[in-house]
Amino acid sequence: MNQRLAMVIDSAKCIDCKACQAACKQANHVSRGAWRNWIKEAAPVVENGKLARGHFQPGACMHCDEPSCLAACPTGATFKSADGSVGIDPKLCIGCGNCIAACPYGARFRDPVRRKADKCDYCPQRRAAGLAPACVDTCPTKARVFGDINDPDSAAAKLLAANQGRVVRIVAKGRDTKPNMYYIASTAPEGWAVKPVDPLSFNALTQVVAPLVRYAVGLSGLGVLVMLGRQLMAGQKPKASHHAGPDTTSDPEAESRQGTANKPETADKEDGHDAR
């Protein structure tokens, strides 16, 4: 049977310490101001005159079985692997940003330095070395559990089995993309995922044109690489901002608030995600 890599998360154990975000950034050389994963905070409610129990929710790309980002990619850079993970081939990515709007979970962003789509890839290099993804390995309370849920002996599958009937998934508005991220028992905030944006015209375009573009981009891959190389060698970095402007924010607290506000707008989505 095929592998089905998944993340099983007990968000009630998350203490919002940011270790997963730091580990991911370090392991994957994610640019300053951008994040492949996040922790959302449930808006605290007042009960009996004081704030009631809070809840933090770790997240990242859900590596959906029916990913809305896949069809949105005009070059085929986004792909679904046999192990169940959704990947991005940076050599094919032209940084158009369509997949970013197509992801209802805000899991994708355009890397501000590399100018390409980026997101969680379950740390394939670490897995090849026999290690868990960086966020899972480092988590102080082991809120994140990773593994092949088709393998009944994996920790992830066992955790899922032990919580049968108590598993929650965050699902896009209007379409179940079949996320492979399972929150056990209960989680909050819920309902923050938006509707995927995948214009029909765009779908048609990818079906007809994609193979050609794919070939062309493949050929020009080396050229793109050289250009990218020159950019990096020149040391071009966007100005690291402590104080993000009103349209972009590098403040993870602000991100949490945005998440908990439960009304994410798709209009300025791209900016918001770039800033994560």
Binding site: K13, I15, D16, C17, K18, A19, Q21, A22, A23, K25, Q26, A27, H29, R32, G33, V46, K50, L51, R53, G54, H55, F56, G76, F79, S81, A82, D83, S85, G87, D89, K91, L92, P124, Q125, A128, A129, G130, L131, A134, T138, C139, P140, T141, K142, P211, R214, Y215, G218, G221, L222, L225, G229, L232, M233, G235, H242, H243, S250, D251, P252
Partner: protein, 733 residues
């Protein structure tokens, strides 16, 4: 090596791999999924080396991934069980500490006015000659106690303290008198030693004055989460809705400074309802009758008026706590530098623990576990007849810790030049300019000196004021002695450090520095050893330990089971747990803690009590300039209750002006329901003055600029919650 060079190198490596993959793609056009996945899944070409984190005092075991001499990732060492196999955000950011462009690179000599930031790079020989000459000069003019030594939490700090001893000065302070001494004093004077909480096996934990899910302490922080998951109860008392509060079984927004009233009410209920073990009280405690009389009128109703916690809840908590005993505790806490009566406040914590009979019991308070580390290179410190009779801060408070002293009182003495002049100061990896209350006084103290030498990794605010600054390597670049770490009931574990990479820049470990100085100052015998020899002596009891440390990165000495102290005398005057302290009575101190309501606000404008605390991404001023961590905490904000903000006309994110008699600060307001009215909070470690800290110089406000210089009346620990501040919107009248 800067981070830019690092990214170039990484890029070249990645580019090599990518070019191959691109070629394959171009040929295959529509690539098979498996092939594409495989192309990106080559294991990294890294070397793995054990290390010990240095981003805070916890010292978690880690594995450094090193690629072509560059550390690219730090991972938790799964064999290091004290940290429960984790590495927090700060630990992960340790890579950025190593490759921080702000690191000190050469010895620097001040050439302009103090604090003006004019430096001249000099060689090591010149620097060491100069430091030795200055120290010699100060010793000749002002006796050897004219030199003060302050070393922070570091595995090599023991060498600075040894150097001070060999030099002949007993004026030594550390960070501890700005942190944990009140709690240590209280438990030492009640139990005869400072216990460890066995959180892992506890069924009921009261967390008062400790934000353990943000101010991470291993293994307690992780264990609190695990035990709650397994059904244990954690009750948090905090004026702030911290993350500990948010995730606790119960949170009570206690009125600041009233914890003792709550503890007395717990004691009242436990005693009145006979929820204690009378035989235990008889055999193991001293002063139970006095305590019973003392708390007879400290009812939950009485406490409610002080704490704001409903009486029936306090009574219920007392019953639940007693029912879970002995696997129950009032968590002793770590940073206890809160109030002028903090020792007595923490004594009340210790007393409730005694009523739970939880000493040396699973889930209770346990004595330090034996570590078996022998003294490295024992030596007899010299004695100098002309030295003054005691520490410069002696006499200020009745129960000063002789080996720690009180930084705040020492600073007073240096400023006054009395009882005797102190004119030189050697500082290693601690930063009083950013951690001691009332920054202008620390500056005044430095102005009173003839010579300030700072050894550190970066140009801290204290280094910025120095005459001579010497660059130290990060903890991943050095060889360190064996260190024993305590992990609750699980026993001690031993770690050491070997360099993961060669020292960067011209940095030298402080061991090399004090060794070189000892040769110049005429006492080379004090450092007549090297670290390998020192470690060998430390591990004399465990011939197998060195090999295991190399193999696993950690060694666990044998750990006797709990309960072995049953029937053994406590190390107190009465040989029992001293509910009533005869020693305190002899010293004219309250033998049982006496509740004093917190001092009221001085006036209508200055009505906000300033409280300190932590984020899991901040280790005071030592981490806020870190590239990665600054993304999480780029600047500090003033937590201001929504209602208070409305009254002041302060909106979300507005700049506010905060003032106290000690100083002032400007920062953005975080208007939030997560803090009590009339209480404000900000992170420490911001509003720095050092021109060598590019991310935090002048960013946010400095909490030590605002805090008044108050001390614990018993042990001289700083009292950081005694300051009231005024808050107004910037620009408002």
């Amino acid at each position: 090596m800067t981070d830019r060079q690092l990214s170039r190198r990484d890029f070249l490596r990645l580019a090599g791999a990518s070019a191959t993959a691109v070629a394959a793609t171009a040929v295959g056009a529509a690539t098979a999924q498996e092939a594409r996945a495989a192309a990106s899944a080559a294991p990294p070409a890294w070397e793995s080396k054990f290390g010990v984190c240095d981003m805070c005092f916890n010292r978690c075991g880690l594995i450094a991934r090193v690629e072509r001499g560059v550390i690219t990732k730090l991972d938790p060492n799964p064999k290091f069980t004290k940290s429960r196999g984790m590495l927090c955000a700060r630990g992960n950011a340790g890579v950025d500490q190593v490759y921080d462009p702000d690191r000190l690179k050469t010895p620097l000599l001040r050439v302009g006015a103090r604090g003006a930031g004019k430096w001249k790079a000099i060689g090591w020989d010149e620097a060491l000659d100069l430091a030795a000459a200055k120290m010699k000069d100060i010793a000749a003019k002002h006796t050897r106690c004219g030199m003060l030594f302050s070393a922070g939490a570091d595995t090599q700090s023991q060498f600075v303290n040894r150097f001070a001893e060999a030099f002949g000065s007993y004026n030594v302070t550390s960070h501890e008198s700005l942190c944990l001494l009140s709690g240590n004093r209280a438990f030492l004077d009640t139990y005869g030693e400072v216990p460890l909480p066995d959180v892992k096996n506890s069924k009921y934990v009261i967390l008062a004055g400790a934000n353990r899910l943000e101010a991470l302490v291993t293994p307690d922080s992780m264990d609190l989460v695990s035990i709650m998951k397994a059904g244990a109860k954690v009750v948090v008392l905090d004026p702030r809705y911290t993350k500990s509060a948010a995730l606790a079984s119960e949170w009570w927004p206690v009125r600041p400074g009233t914890d003792m009233a709550f503890m007395f009410a717990l004691a009242h209920v436990i005693i009145a309802e006979k929820l204690y073990d009378p035989a235990y009280m008889q055999e193991r405690t001293s002063g139970f009758e006095q305590l019973a009389a003392h708390v007879a009128d400290k009812t939950p109703q009485w406490a409610e008026a002080e704490t704001g916690i409903p009486a029936h809840d306090t009574a219920r908590i007392a019953r639940e706590l007693a029912a879970a005993a002995p696997a129950a505790m009032v968590y002793p806490g770590r940073r206890t530098s809160d109030y002028e009566n903090s020792t007595q406040i923490r004594r009340s914590f210790a007393i409730v623990n005694a009523l739970l009979s939880n000493w040396d019991r699973p889930g209770g308070l346990v004595p330090s576990r034996p570590a078996g580390v022998k003294k490295g290179a024992p030596f007899e410190p010299p004695f100098y007849d002309d030295n003054p009779p005691g520490r410069v801060d002696q006499g200020g408070v009745p129960l000063l810790f002789e080996d720690e002293g009180s930084f705040v009182l020492t600073r007073e003495a240096v400023i006054k030049g009395a009882p005797y002049p102190v004119k030189g100061w050697m500082v290693y990896k601690t930063n009083p300019m950013a951690t001691a209350p009332e920054r202008r006084k620390t500056r005044q103290m430095i102005d009173a000196l003839d010579f300030l030498l700072v050894v550190d990794i970066t140009m801290s605010d204290t280094a910025w004021m120095a005459d001579l600054v010497l660059p130290a390597p990060s903890a991943l670049e050095r060889q360190d002695p064996v260190q024993a770490l305590q992990a609750g009931a699980e026993g001690a574990c031993l770690v050491w450090r070997d360099p993961v990479i060669a020292p960067l820049h011209q940095s030298r470990p402080v061991f090399d520095i004090v060794k070189a100085l000892s040769q110049r100052l005429g006492f080379p015998e004090a450092f007549d050893f090297d670290i390998p020899k020192y470690r060998e002596q430390q591990l004399a009891a465990f011939p197998e330990a060195a090999e295991i440390l190399k193999r696993d990165g950690v060694f666990y000495p044998p750990n006797p089971p709990l309960g072995t102290t049953d029937g053994q005398p406590f190390k107190t005057p009465s040989q029992k747990i001293e509910l009533f302290s005869t020693r305190y009575a002899d010293k004219g101190l309250d033998p049982l803690p006496v509740y004093q309501p917190p001092k009221p606000a001085p006036d209508a404008a200055r009505k906000f009590r300033l409280v300190v605390g932590r984020s899991a991404c901040v280790t005071q001023a030592s981490s806020t300039n870190n590239a990665m961590l600054s993304e999480f905490e780029p600047e500090n904000t003033l937590w201001l209750n929504e209602e208070s903000a409305r009254e002041l006309g302060v909106g979300q994110g507005d700049m506010v002006l905060v003032e106290s008699p000690a100083g002032r600060g400007e920062l953005r307001a975080l208007v939030t329901p997560k803090i009590r009215k009339n209480t404000v909070y900000m992170l420490s470690g911001f509003g720095s003055v050092s021109g060598g800290l590019s991310r935090i110089k002048g960013v946010g406000a400095s909490i030590v600029e605002l805090m008044e210089s108050r001390v614990d009346a018993i042990c001289g620990n700083s009292a950081m919650h005694e300051t009231y501040v005024s808050v107004r919107k910037k620009g408002a009248a």
